[in-house]
């Protein structure tokens, strides 16, 4: 299973074994990574699973579209590398990816 590293706002690393085909949010929630809330359960409703993707990995992800793109803009501190993890499908190519968690999801 691809390993994804979540770095929380305090700088602590959380390595997560993510299931291929699942979403990055599901992997984080299952591993109880602090700071990934996923209040709506992965339905792209609440934007509480926001992360910053390491720029080196950003290009390997499909571009955000539709609701994800619209919601990201309204998170607390959106950046060019902001993504909602409930919309990111885990693939083997993402093994080793690093993402950072914002200070708040609200």
């Amino acid at each position: 299973m691809p390993r994804i590293t979540f770095i929380d706002f305090n700088g602590a690393s959380h390595d997560v074994e993510a299931k291929t085909g699942g979403t990055l949010m599901e992997a984080a929630i299952e591993a109880m990574v602090p700071g990934i809330e996923g209040d709506c359960g992965g339905n792209c409703i609440c934007a509480t699973c926001h992360v910053y993707v390491d720029p080196a990995w950003l290009a390997r992800l499909p571009d955000p579209e539709g609701d994800e793109e619209a919601m990201i803009e309204y998170t607390s501190e959106p950046e060019d590398n902001s993504r909602l993890t409930c919309q990111l499908t885990v693939t083997d190519e993402l093994d080793g990816m690093v993402v950072r968690i914002p200070e708040t999801q609200y």
Partner: protein, 406 residues
């Protein structure tokens, strides 16, 4: 010896409380007692993606079994709690055994409201609250079947959308003059009524069900309304709301009033008992009055509050509620409660299937209902949370970026 926290109920609130306690490194023992056979799971997909078969059972579970095992959480599923003895701090379970607690958290959720009319116990009449309910309903939803849905709220309309897509012939009977009347304003109601009719749903408002008639096979065969019409039915879904599950609390003498009464820390009037989620009528600092909310957001927020209370934190509940519904390709996102509004402003155009209704009270934004317009919902979460004063002219101006007023 460390303390024991027993959670009664294994729904979304119970699951979220448990994982939050684990994250907070709570050093007591956690025991969950739930009367369903399932691990804590998400209910919202039941009437949407789980009913339509788009998602599997396992994806409904908030956490897999291993998460609870690893954390040493004891799960007693398929187990009813019969009574609470507050003096000895002991629960009586269905098999007669006892379970003692230091802290008790009631997360008993709600039960469906039953319809009290003749024929209501006929076969073929369904309710929808649990995985088991959907597993019983789904195989019957095949093309050409005639489904009559009693109640045009979220659940009824979400099922109508799924069923219509499957080629089921759907009739929705709503007692009120418009659908979703309890939770939204007229513009949204009328819009969704139109969308359902366009999808082929026979939607009748102002129509009360007075009886169910048996068909030749002894199952339900028709639904008789107060206009004396009988709508033919192969199956029926009754979705007329829920009632908070307070029986256990009431029998134990806890203060209840259409919900177990709790303060903004989720405390009942017993210092050893908290209550969270659908079953509560609670203080939320966002509101002047106690409220009862039927939503995941409330279950999650109260679970976090309770976790703080149990671990010595001071985190009063203070949040604007939010909700969502998916019907066809329409995503309705809502924040705040629109009740009591004295003005509305509509951004966008319903004819474009992308619009939002803003509800104001004395110039302050109290709620937003957004259809396929996530920015209005996201901006609304911030603005409604702050009860911000906003000019209606600003809200409806599509040239104004909502971010600029957040």
């Amino acid at each position: 010896m460390s303390e024991t926290t027993v959670i009664v109920g294994a729904g979304h609130a119970a699951g979220m409380l448990t994982t939050t306690l684990i994250q907070k490194k709570y050093d007591g023992k956690i025991v969950i007692v739930g009367d369903e056979a399932h691990l804590p799971y998400q209910r919202p997909p039941l009437s949407k993606a789980y009913l339509s078969g788009e998602v599997e059972l396992s994806s409904l579970y908030l956490k897999p079994q291993e998460t609870y095992d690893k954390a040493g959480v004891a799960l007693s599923l398929d187990t009813r709690v019969e009574a609470i003895d507050r003096d000895s701090r002991e629960l009586t379970l269905a098999d007669g055994s006892g379970l003692t607690y230091d802290n008790l958290v009631l997360a008993t959720g709600s039960q469906v409201r039953r319809i009290p009319v003749p024929g209501a116990d006929l076969g073929g009449i369904h309710y929808l609250r649990t995985i088991a309910d959907v597993d019983a309903l789904r195989p019957a939803l095949t093309a050409g079947q005639r489904l009559v849905i009693v109640g045009g709220g979220y659940i009824g309309l979400e099922v109508a959308a799924v069923a219509a897509k499957l080629g089921v012939s759907v009739t929705v009977l709503e007692t009120e003059g418009r659908v979703m009347a309890r939770v939204t304003g007229e513009t949204i109601s009328r819009y969704f009524e139109r969308k359902h009719r366009e999808a082929g749903v026979d939607l009748r408002t102002g129509t009360r069900v007075v009886a169910f008639e048996a068909g030749d096979d002894g199952q339900v065969g028709g639904v008789t309304c107060d206009d004396d019409n009988t709508v033919p039915a192969d199956l029926v879904l009754v979705s007329i709301g829920i009632q908070p599950e307070t029986a256990l609390a009431e029998a134990a003498g806890l203060a209840c009033d259409d919900g177990i009464l709790v303060d903004e820390y989720t405390r009942t009037d017993d210092p050893h008992i908290l209550a969270i989620g659908d079953c509560t009528r609670h203080r939320n600092l966002y509101f002047d009055q106690p409220v009862r909310l039927e939503s995941v957001a409330n279950a999650v927020d109260q679970a976090r509050t309770a976790a703080a209370t149990l671990t010595g934190g001071d985190q009063p509940y203070n949040a604007a509620p939010w909700f969502w519904s998916n019907q066809y390709d329409l995503r309705l996102q809502m924040v705040g409660l629109s009740e009591g509004h004295d003005a509305t402003a509509i951004r966008g155009n319903p004819d474009d299937d992308t619009f939002a209704v803003f509800y104001l009270k004395q110039g302050k934004l109290i709620a937003v209902d957004a259809v396929n317009m996530p920015p209005a919902f996201m901006a609304g979460k911030k603005l409604v949370g702050a009860r911000a004063a906003v000019e209606p002219a600003t809200l409806i101006d599509l040239d104004v970026d909502l971010k600029s007023i957040m």
